[in-house]
Each structure stands twice: as structure tokens, then as C-alpha cells.
């Protein structure tokens, strides 16, 4: 007979205000097997944990149930406490009476009854718990960073500086990401390229960092410490060893028709191109869609002019298999498509641009060499209207319900840059709210209003009517209730940010979850902000949610620290809640092997005595190192030979019975 101790937490008033603790304690006392029960205000505190430890020793407890918050919160805390008191940690169960009870119910009587019921179920399960001992696996001491923006660069540098090998995989021909496209950064107005390019060079020069540009991660298998990854290196059509980055090919290429991705379509680029002059690696790529050689077979100018013979039209995609101990996802963000916002005329009028296009227009290395002019007639604008929240905080089907977070600040920056360049040009900003939470942010935005004379208008724009060579902006000042009409020369739209279109595919490949907006989900919004629910996979930057550069860099370093935490270990313990086969019951049908997503189940031959004769028989065998413990095989198994440790059939049925009492 097991000796069960039950510990009931008040969680201050979080539980005790809706659950009558005394009633739960009284009910617990009568449960079969329970020999000790105790309630306390904060069971997770040191005092509370000591109560558990002391009781285990004093009352010879063989099973422990803690009725408190979600096991996702403090299961590991209490397991450690149990272990310290000499009890196998897997003999402890949590009854979730906070998230699943006190916080969702208001009726005290009903909540108390439910708390009792949940505690009973946990006791019933705990009695059937078995001591489990986790196994150990080795760790591949190399990290993979997916995405070469500022988040990926920072993560890679931090991990490499700690002495571990890092592979940085970037989809486009160069690392640098969105930050490379920016002109100045808020709130200090320092030049984006000046602070980013040194980091890009650092990454490329670091002997522990390997950059795979123009490459994509194609397949991920395995688990923490031992991920097996396939990287596709897309055919660049250039021999990276031979190319010196002289750039003659770019100048001589006759097919200059494609719109430059880096310049947000504001200028053209050649079919053979490096996205921007400071690209890392400084090796061009041939865009086979626009290249005349690939389209018609005739041309080959680049091969003729290349002094080192680096052009290779025959190059093929290559696949590379690599093992990693940890993966950091830094795939970044995109801006939404504005086609469905017809009232702003973005798709129909060249002088209506996005914030990112504005960055290129004011950038000294941009398509106008830093001269801020209207794209339509290259004239200097006299009145510019900025519209915030284009698609952000928009519950309708064309927008995103969240706040894109960076627009208030970059719009203030744009307006300042504009007024700085052309003091006689008027700037109007339409806003719903101005959000400037961040160090120095509020001061920055006020400077735009107070020192730069930017006109902030609380309200929105209904529609823009292109009239003559002006853009007639119909808006409202919601504070005064006046309807406005502004004859603008240019309109800049702060379009909403969104997760990368391929984010959910990446998530699926990595088995990490995405939220309803396709941003990757962190393990805990407050306490585990860079971890995912998949051990060994971490997040940094805007792929987890909209964020600015300082936050992205902070998160990148945090993710690096987490990854280093894995890489610095020589062994990792794995989850002991794995499947096991009862060989005497197994019929050897091997249905389980087909179901297992990890190929953790294989066949083996055993010798068994059947009716006095020794027979060789085929049975299934679980590789505990590979099994992740989903338990799917237990249901597939027709004779019922496989069971899952920690969540056995008996345990779950005991819970069902206890709840249904």
C-alpha cells in the first residue's frame, strides 16, 4: 500500500479565493492511500518546498501529490524537491487547481468540488506511478541559426564567441536582413548600415561561423542535442571560391529589367546581382528567371567578362547533411501586402509608398542617392502625409489584429528626417494612438512634435483621391471633430508587419508551434521568452512577434545563451516517459513501427519458451533514446503490449474513474 502525501497550495489568494482550502484538505484526508495532507500559502516557496521534503522523510511518503498551479509551471520545481528528499521525482503528481479551476470558475462551491475531484484524480494516478530513471544522450556541439538578419547575426556571433561552431543559413544572397535596408535607426538616428555592416563582416570573418547564404533548411529530424538537418544550397551559378567580388559582371549584364528586392522595387537590378554593395558574402547570384542566358541560351556576357572564370551556368542545387545540438530560429518578418487597401491608392499611385520604401528613398546609397523626391516626377515634395496603423490593430480580414510596434517610432523618425532635409516641407502624421514605450522613445517622438514641427493628427484617413498632380487626402481630426482635406505630394503608409509567409512551414518542419498570426510561440510569454516547446530550439527577433532592433538584439543574445547552455553539456538527460514493450504480450505484428514518427521502434528476435519448446519470435523494441513519448503506439498496438511510462493505460483509467466518481 502506498503512502500518499497531499500538499494543497493557496497560491496567495489566487486559489484560496475561489476554492475552499479547508474543504479540500478535509476531503483529501479520506482518500484511500492518503496518510498526510498539508496546505500552505505558497507551496512553491522555499518554506513550502521544505514542507514537502520534511513530510516525505517524516511520514515515509512513497507518493506525493501537489495541488497547485499548472504542471507546466512548477512540476519541475516540486520534482526537484522530491528528489532532494530521496524520492524518485516521477512519483510526484500535480493537480492543476489554479489555471484549470480557481481562475476559470467563479462559483466557490463548484470550484471547490472540482478541486477535490482533480486532486482525487491525481492521487489515483500517483498511486500507480512508477519510479523512472532518465537516460543520457550525447550532444553535437554545433549550432544552427536559421535566418541571417540582425537577430541571426547577433546569435551566431555570441555562440561563436563562446567557442562553438555555428552555421548561419540565409535564404537570400546576403546576410543583413531588413536592418540593412534601413537608413537611420530610432531613437538615436544613427546610421543603420554603420552599425550593422561591421557585425556582418565580423560574422563572415569569424573562424567559428559558417555562412550558408542563398540556402534554405529543407529537413529537420532528431531532438535536442542531436538534430539532423538537411540544408539546400541553391545554385548561385557562381563559383564562390573563384569570385573576387569585383563587380564587372554586374555592370556588363545587359538584362537589367528585374526590380531590385533590396531597393523595394524602386530601382532595377541586373540578372546577375549582389543585393547591395556591402553584401556578405560579396558574391553575386544569377537570377535564372531574368537571365537571358538561362532564358534563351544566348548571351553569356558575364562569363566572358569575369576575370577569374567564376561563372558556372551548370551549377546545381546542393544538399548538405549536418548535425546540430541546438537550433535558433531568426527568420524575421515581412510587411503586409497593401493591395486590399485600395482607398490608399498604394497599388495605383507611385507617390504612395510604404515606410520601408521611404527608408530607401532617403538613404544615401538608395535609388535616388539620398535625394528625397516623388517617385512619379522626381520633384521635391512640399507636403507629406504619413498614415500609421495601415493594417495594424485591424480586426477585419484585410488587416492584423496586433500592434506592429515599430511604426509609431519609425514614422516619427521619417517625419524628422523629412523636416531635417526640407525644413519648408510640411509633415502630417495620422495616428490612432502614439505608442512610445521604450528607453528614450517618448522623448524622441516629442522632439518630432516640439522641435521639428511635425503635425500629429489623431484620426485616420478615409480615402486618398489623386487629383491633378496632388494626392487629396481625406481625413479626420477625431479630437476636434473636424473633417480634413490635405493636398499632399506624397503619402507614406506604415504598413503592418506580419510573419514571413513561410513561417508555418518552418514551424512544421521544426515541430514548433505558431500563433494565430503565424508568429512562433515561445514556451512561456514571461518566463521562457526565447525557448520553444521543443527542447533545443530557440527563437529570436521578429519571427516571434513584432519588435524593434534593441529588443531583437537582446533576444538574440538571450537565445544564444540558452543554446550555449545546451552545447556546453557533454550529455543530456532525456525524458523517461517513453514507451515500453511487454514482450510476452507482443504479437510481433510491428504495426507500431509504422506509426512511430521517430522510427524509435524496431523489431528484434527473442527466444521464448512456448509449451516447453524454445522458440524464436519476432517482437517490437523501443529505443528509449529516440522515443519522444507521444504514446501513439500504445493505441496502435492491438494486443496492448506497449504502454507509456508515466502515462500508462492504468494510470489514465484511474484518473477517469476518479473524476467520474
Amino acid at each position: 500500500m502506498q503512502r500518499v502525501g497531499v500538499f494543497i497550495c493557496w497560491c496567495g489568494t489566487n486559489i484560496s479565493s475561489t476554492v475552499n482550502i479547508d474543504e479540500v484538505v478535509a476531503a483529501v484526508k479520506n482518500m484511500p492511500g492518503v496518510v498526510y495532507s498539508k496546505d500552505y500559502q505558497y507551496m512553491c516557496s522555499e518554506v513550502g518546498q521544505n514542507l514537502v521534503k520534511d513530510a516525505i522523510k517524516e511520514h515515509n511518503l512513497t507518493r506525493v501529490v501537489v495541488a497547485a498551479c499548472s504542471p507546466r509551471m512548477h512540476e519541475s520545481t516540486f520534482r526537484k524537491a522530491a528528489k532532494a528528499a530521496g524520492l524518485n521525482p516521477y512519483l510526484l503528481e500535480i493537480a492543476n487547481i489554479r489555471e484549470h479551476c480557481s481562475w476559470v470558475h467563479k462559483d466557490k462551491k463548484a470550484a471547490t468540488q472540482k478541486a477535490i475531484s482533480l486532486t482525487k484524480a491525481a492521487v489515483a494516478k500517483a498511486i500507480l506511478n512508477q519510479p523512472l530513471i532518465p537516460g543520457e544522450v550525447g550532444v553535437e556541439q554545433r549550432a544552427l541559426v536559421i535566418g541571417g538578419g540582425i537577430a541571426g547575426i547577433q546569435t551566431a556571433l555570441d555562440i561563436a564567441d563562446a567557442g562553438y561552431e555555428v552555421d548561419l543559413v540565409e535564404k537570400t544572397p546576403s546576410i543583413g536582413g531588413k536592418m540593412a535596408q534601413l537608413d537611420k535607426t530610432f531613437p538615436t538616428l544613427d546610421c543603420s548600415a554603420c552599425i550593422l555592416t561591421p557585425k556582418m563582416v565580423d560574422a563572415s570573418m569569424h573562424d567559428k561561423i559558417n555562412i550558408y547564404s542563398y540556402s534554405e533548411v529543407e529537413e529537420v529530424n532528431g531532438f535536442v542535442g542531436n538534430f539532423e538537418v538537411v540544408i539546400k544550397q541553391k545554385a548561385r551559378s557562381i563559383d564562390m571560391e573563384k569570385c573576387t567580388g569585383c563587380g564587372i559582371c554586374l555592370a556588363k549584364c545587359p538584362a537589367k529589367t528585374a526590380l531590385s528586392e533590396f531597393e523595394e522595387g524602386l530601382s532595377k537590378r541586373a540578372a546577375i546581382y549582389t543585393p547591395f554593395p556591402q553584401a556578405v558574402p560579396n558574391v553575386p547570384v544569377i537570377d535564372r528567371e531574368t537571365c537571358t542566358k538561362f532564358r534563351t541560351g544566348k548571351c553569356g556576357v558575364c562569363a566572358k567578362v569575369c576575370p577569374t572564370g567564376a561563372i558556372d551556368y551548370e551549377q546545381k542545387d546542393e544538399r548538405l547533411n549536418q548535425k546540430y545540438g541546438a537550433i535558433i530560429v531568426t527568420t524575421g518578418y515581412d510587411l503586409i501586402n497593401l493591395d486590399s487597401f485600395g482607398e490608399y491608392q498604394y497599388a495605383d499611385h507611385p507617390d504612395v509608398i510604404t515606410g520601408l520604401e521611404f527608408e530607401r528613398l532617403v538613404n544615401a546609397a538608395g535609388p535616388t542617392a539620398g535625394k528625397l523626391v516623388r517617385p512619379s516626377d522626381k520633384k521635391k515634395p512640399k507636403k507629406v502625409v504619413f498614415i500609421q496603423c495601415v493594417g495594424s490593430r485591424d480586426k477585419s480580414e484585410r488587416g492584423k489584429s496586433y500592434c506592429s510596434k515599430i511604426c509609431c517610432m519609425y514614422t516619427a523618425k521619417h517625419a524628422m528626417l523629412l523636416r531635417d532635409k526640407y525644413p519648408d516641407c510640411e509633415a502630417y502624421v495620422f495616428y490612432i494612438d502614439v505608442r512610445t514605450a521604450g528607453k528614450g522613445f517618448e522623448e524622441f517622438q516629442r522632439r518630432a512634435v516640439e522641435n521639428y514641427g511635425v503635425n500629429y493628427i489623431k484620426g485616420m484617413v478615409g480615402k486618398i483621391f489623386p487629383t491633378g498632380d496632388k494626392l487629396k487626402v481625406n481625413g479626420v481630426d477625431a479630437l476636434s471633430g473636424e473633417v480634413l482635406e490635405i493636398d499632399a505630394d506624397m503619402v507614406v503608409l506604415a504598413s503592418a508587419t506580419q510573419a514571413k509567409p513561410g513561417a508555418s512551414d518552418v514551424g512544421r518542419m521544426l515541430s514548433i508551434s505558431t500563433d494565430r498570426d503565424n508568429f512562433f510561440t515561445e514556451a512561456h510569454p514571461k518566463l521562457r521568452p526565447v525557448e520553444t516547446h521543443c527542447a533545443g530550439i530557440y527563437l529570436a527577433g521578429a519571427c516571434q512577434g513584432p519588435k524593434d532592433i534593441p529588443e531583437t538584439v537582446a533576444q538574440a543574445s538571450a537565445a544564444a545563451a540558452k543554446a550555449i547552455g545546451i552545447l556546453s553539456k557533454s550529455k543530456l538527460v532525456n525524458n523517461p516517459c517513453v514507451s515500453q514493450v511487454d514482450e510476452s504480450v507482443c504479437s510481433g505484428c510491428l504495426a507500431c513501427t509504422k506509426m512511430c514518427p521517430y522510427e524509435a521502434i524496431t523489431e528484434k528476435m527473442v527466444e521464448q519458451k512456448v509449451h516447453g519448446k524454445i522458440r524464436r519470435r519476432r517482437v517490437a523494441e523501443v529505443n528509449a533514446a529516440l522515443c519522444q513519448g507521444c504514446g501513439g503506439c500504445t493505441v496502435t498496438c492491438r494486443p496492448g503490449a506497449i504502454d507509456l511510462k508515466g502515462f500508462s493505460n492504468k494510470q489514465i483509467l484511474a484518473e477517469v474513474d476518479a473524476i467520474c466518481q
Binding site: 487597401f341 485600395g342 491608392q345 480580414e397 480615402k463 483621391f465 489623386p466 487629383t467
Partner: protein, 264 residues
């Protein structure tokens, strides 16, 4: 191909041209628009409140009749189209209303929103195709500078009407181009003309139509086409139109003209 055709009351009186030319051209295009029997006035405006059922019943009768014949329901008037489409959508999505309506109507077969409602323009675009239409044009409207005026009812709400992009529609322009005319683009093509406000608030309507016509004139339009009798009335009543600066006609008139069946 046979279609159930719902004319609506205005087309039988003040907007006969909208219907006449549509029927002529349909015949020329090999489309058979069969007028529904015993149709009733749809009510002209979609009742926006959730608690009104009686005013939607006439539409359901027509929708159910089309369903029984296994035909799509074709409309011409923008107002009728909006009503048919939205009531149909209600019947598809609002369980509560579906139950009440069916309880009241006692049809042989409960109506669940099975019918497909298409506007004549959609029929031209999606079933005949503007390319085919262009081939059938006998008298191309060469040199005619026509501004298309959409109004509200065909376009909004987008999720239900599903007609075209509500902010930058192109179906009427594409239609005009297929007839050989030059379609004039102007930013006011989707702005409201004031609709029924002309009954009660003419001064409000005056400014609304004024904006529309001025915008079209600025872009060089010489005439405006529309699909709604009320839009046409409001536009024609405007100061600029009375002065003869621009003329307003139904899109079907131009269609009949191009197909050379105006006098058929």
C-alpha cells in the same frame, strides 16, 4: 442557357431602358433570361436590423423559386441584387432566421440558401467572358470616353457581395473596354451618390453627386454608365448634369449599342 431573371419594380416603370437593352443583348449573346413568375418587390433596401424578417420574405420567395427550377438567379438592378444576395447569405448563415422564415413560408422544400445570385455583369464576366463578348461586338464604341460609376450596392459589403474589389473594382472598365470604348478611371467611382437620401435630404445628395461628376469630368469623361436606377436618377439630377456637361446611361444601353441590337 436558361437563367431565372428577377427584374424588380423600377425596371418595369422608370428604368425600362436598363431592362430592355439587357434583354435584347442577352438574346444576341445566346443567354435566355426567363422572368420569374409572380415576383414581388424586394423592398429596395436591405433591412439592416437583425430582428426584421417580414421584409426579407419576398426575396426568399424568388430565391426559392430559382432553386426549384435549378437555375441561377440573375438580377439587373443594383439594389435588388444587394437584397437578393444578402438575404441569401442570411439564409445560408443565420440558423435563427432560416428557421423563422421557413416556418412562416411553409415551402414544399425548406430554403437554405442554395440558390446562386448573379448580377448581369457577373454573368457577362464569369459565364460569357469579356473576351467572347468583345468578339461579338458589331459596332465597337471607338473613341467613346466612358466613366464607370459603381455606386455602393454592388460592391459592399465585400464578404457577402463578392463582386469585385470594393475599393478598386475593374469589372465595369473591363466591360467597357471589351465594347471598344475607352474606360475613364477616376477616384470617385465607388463613392456613394446619396441613394434614397434624395427623398428626404436633397441638399446632402447634391454635394455627393457633384463630387462624383466633377471627378469624372476632370479625367476627361464624356458619359457615365451605371447599373442602378437610383444612382442614375441622382446623377442626372445634379447641377452639372442638368447643364448638359455629361450624360448618364445604363451599362446595358452601351452593350446593346455595341451588339447592334438597340432597336431590336
Amino acid at each position: 442557357m436558361n437563367y431565372s431573371y428577377y427584374p424588380g419594380c423600377t425596371l418595369k416603370t422608370k428604368a425600362q431602358n436598363l431592362e430592355k437593352f439587357a434583354l435584347h443583348s442577352a438574346q444576341a449573346l445566346g443567354v435566355n433570361l426567363v422572368e420569374q413568375e409572380e415576383w414581388q418587390c424586394c423592398g429596395a433596401v436591405y433591412p439592416l436590423s437583425t430582428d426584421e424578417i417580414a421584409t426579407k420574405l419576398a426575396s426568399v420567395r424568388s430565391l426559392a423559386a430559382a432553386r426549384d427550377k435549378g437555375e441561377s438567379l440573375v438580377t439587373l438592378c443594383a439594389a435588388c441584387h444587394q437584397l437578393m444576395k444578402r438575404v441569401n447569405h442570411d439564409m445560408q448563415t443565420k440558423e435563427d432566421m432560416r428557421e423563422k422564415v421557413n416556418n412562416y413560408l411553409q415551402l414544399d422544400d425548406n430554403y437554405q440558401g442554395e440558390s446562386k445570385v448573379i448580377h448581369y455583369l457577373e454573368l457577362l464576366r464569369d459565364e460569357i467572358g469579356f473576351e467572347t463578348l468583345a468578339q461579338k461586338v458589331k459596332v465597337p464604341l471607338k473613341g467613346r470616353k466612358v466613366a464607370a460609376y459603381y455606386g455602393c450596392l454592388l460592391l459592399r459589403p465585400k464578404e457577402i457581395m463578392n463582386f469585385d474589389d470594393p475599393e478598386r473594382p475593374t469589372v465595369l472598365e473591363d466591360f467597357l473596354e471589351s465594347l471598344g470604348a475607352s474606360a475613364i478611371h477616376y477616384p470617385y467611382k465607388t463613392e456613394c451618390c446619396g441613394g434614397y437620401l434624395s427623398v428626404d435630404k436633397e441638399e446632402v445628395v447634391e454635394q455627393m453627386v457633384d463630387n462624383i461628376i466633377r471627378s469624372a469630368l476632370e479625367q476627361g469623361a464624356e458619359e457615365i454608365v451605371t447599373a442602378c436606377p437610383l444612382c442614375k436618377y441622382n446623377l442626372e439630377n445634379s447641377r452639372l448634369c442638368s447643364k448638359g456637361e455629361i450624360s448618364i446611361s445604363y451599362f446595358t444601353e452601351l452593350l446593346a449599342e455595341a451588339l447592334d441590337v438597340k432597336e431590336a
